[in-house]
C-alpha cells in the first residue's frame, strides 16, 4: 500500500488543476482540498488496503490515490474523461457521479463477504438511499463501513438548510466520529476548492 502525505496529495491535485487551466482536460473535474488529514487517518485507522473495495462519488482523486491506484494511471483517466466515474476492477474502486449511486452496489458487494468502504457526501447521508443501505447493512452485519464526508455543501447548496437542520459546521475539529461500532463514520472539513473545475477562467481553444 502506497502511503501519501498531505503535501503529496495536494501536489497531485495541483497538477490536475494546472492541466485543466492549460486546457488539457476537456471534462469536468472535482478537486479535493482541505480533507487530507482526515482521509489519511481513516485509511490508516481502518487499514484500507488492496483487498478492500472503495465506493465513492465524483470527488474521488484523493481516495483513488490512498487506495493505491498509481498516479500516472489516475491522471490519464482524469485527462480522458473518467474523473467523475472512476472505476477499476484491479483496484476494487467504483465511483458514480449520481448522488448515492454507489451505495447500493457497495452493499451488494459487501453482501458477498468482501470488505467494503463507501464514501458519501453530507447531502447523500440525508437521503433515503443512505438510510436503506445503512439499515440493511447493520441488520445483516455486513463488512461495510460508510464514511460521511461532511463539508456542509452539496454543489453550492448548504446541505442541512434543505432539511431545516441548524448545522454548526466546525471544520477546525479534526475529529472522526464513529457510530454503530465504527460502521458509520463522519468527518468534517472545509471545502477549499470550487464544487467543480477551478477558480479561474479557462479558455478552451
Amino acid at each position: 500500500m502506497i502511503e501519501y502525505t498531505k503535501e503529496e496529495l495536494q501536489t497531485f491535485e495541483d497538477d490536475i488543476k494546472n492541466e485543466f487551466i492549460k486546457g488539457n482536460i476537456r471534462y469536468p473535474i472535482h478537486l479535493s482540498r482541505g480533507n487530507e488529514y482526515q482521509l489519511i487517518e481513516i485509511f490508516k485507522k481502518y487499514n484500507i488496503g488492496d483487498n478492500d473495495w472503495c465506493f465513492c462519488s465524483h470527488r474521488n482523486h484523493y481516495l483513488a490515490l490512498l487506495k493505491g491506484i498509481p498516479k500516472e494511471w489516475l491522471k490519464n483517466q482524469i485527462i480522458t474523461g473518467h474523473s467523475m466515474h472512476l472505476m477499476s476492477k484491479e483496484y476494487k474502486f467504483f465511483a458514480s457521479s449520481i448522488v448515492g449511486g454507489s451505495l447500493f452496489p457497495a452493499v451488494g458487494v459487501a453482501d458477498s463477504g468482501e470488505h467494503t468502504f463507501c464514501f458519501v457526501g453530507d447531502m447523500c447521508s440525508l437521503t433515503g438511499k443512505f438510510h436503506e443501505s445503512v439499515q440493511y447493512s447493520l441488520h445483516f452485519n455486513l463488512p461495510i463501513t460508510f464514511v460521511i464526508e461532511c463539508n456542509g455543501m452539496s454543489t453550492n447548496t448548504p446541505s442541512y438548510e434543505t432539511v431545516n437542520i441548524e448545522h454548526k459546521h466546525d471544520s477546525s475539529i479534526k475529529t472522526i466520529h464513529e457510530w454503530e461500532n465504527g460502521k458509520v463514520i463522519r468527518y468534517c472539513y472545509e471545502r477549499k476548492t470550487p464544487h467543480i473545475n477551478v477558480d479561474q477562467f479557462v479558455s478552451f481553444q
Binding site: H82, M87, S96, P105, G108, D111, K129
Partner: protein, 178 residues
C-alpha cells in the same frame, strides 16, 4: 406447455446454472412469479426489501464480484422505481469503466393483468419500448407467448449482457394480449 409451466422451466434453467433469485415474493406467496419458483430451493431465493432501486443496485454489486443474480420485479411499474440503477448504472457501467466492469443481471418483470380485475394505472404499465430506448446496453425481450420463454431465457443465460424479460400477467390465464 402453458405459459406458467414454461416459466417454471426457465426458472429451473437459471437454478441449475447457480442463479440467486432476488426480490419481493421470492420466498413468500403473493405474485404469479412466486408460483414459478416452486422447484427452486429456498437457499437460492432471497426475499428483498421493497426498495426497487436498492434491489437492482444490490444485484449489480453482486454481479461485480461474479455472482449470478435474477432480480424479480413483479410489476414493470415497480421496475420504474429502479430507474437510476437501471439506466445510470447497469446500462452504463461497462462503458464508464472502459469495459473493466461488465455487470450482468437477468431482470424478470411483468405487465400486470387487467382481467378479471383491473388493478389500475400503477400496476399495468408496459414500458418495454421506453426502457429499450433508454438502455442501449441491456436487451429487453417481451415474452408475448409461451413459445418464446425457453429460447429467450437460454439466450439471456448465454449472453454477457444484462437482459430484461417481460412477461404478461394475462398469459398466465391464457388470455390473449394482442
Amino acid at each position: 406447455m402453458n405459459y406458467r409451466e414454461e416459466m417454471c422451466k426457465a426458472m429451473n434453467l437459471l437454478r441449475d446454472n447457480g442463479y440467486l433469485f432476488v426480490g419481493q415474493s421470492c420466498k413468500y406467496y403473493g405474485t404469479a412469479m412466486f408460483s414459478t419458483l416452486k422447484d427452486v430451493p429456498i437457499s437460492q431465493r432471497k426475499e428483498f426489501m421493497v426498495a426497487e432501486d436498492f434491489q437492482l443496485g444490490w444485484s449489480i454489486g453482486q454481479s461485480l464480484v461474479g455472482k449470478k443474480v435474477c432480480s424479480l420485479f413483479p410489476r414493470m411499474d415497480f421496475l420504474i422505481s429502479a430507474s437510476d440503477q437501471l439506466v445510470n448504472h447497469l446500462d452504463k457501467i461497462e462503458k464508464l469503466s472502459d469495459g473493466e466492469f461488465k455487470p450482468k443481471v437477468i431482470i424478470r418483470t411483468s405487465v400486470g393483468s387487467k382481467t378479471p380485475i383491473n388493478p389500475g394505472l400503477q400496476h399495468v404499465g408496459d414500458y418495454s419500448k421506453e426502457i429499450r430506448s433508454m438502455c442501449k446496453n441491456i436487451k429487453v425481450i417481451e415474452l408475448y407467448s409461451s413459445e418464446l420463454i425457453a429460447k429467450s431465457y437460454k439466450n439471456a443465460l448465454e449472453s454477457d449482457k444484462s437482459t430484461i424479460l417481460v412477461e404478461y400477467g394475462e398469459l398466465y390465464d391464457n388470455v390473449p394480449i394482442r
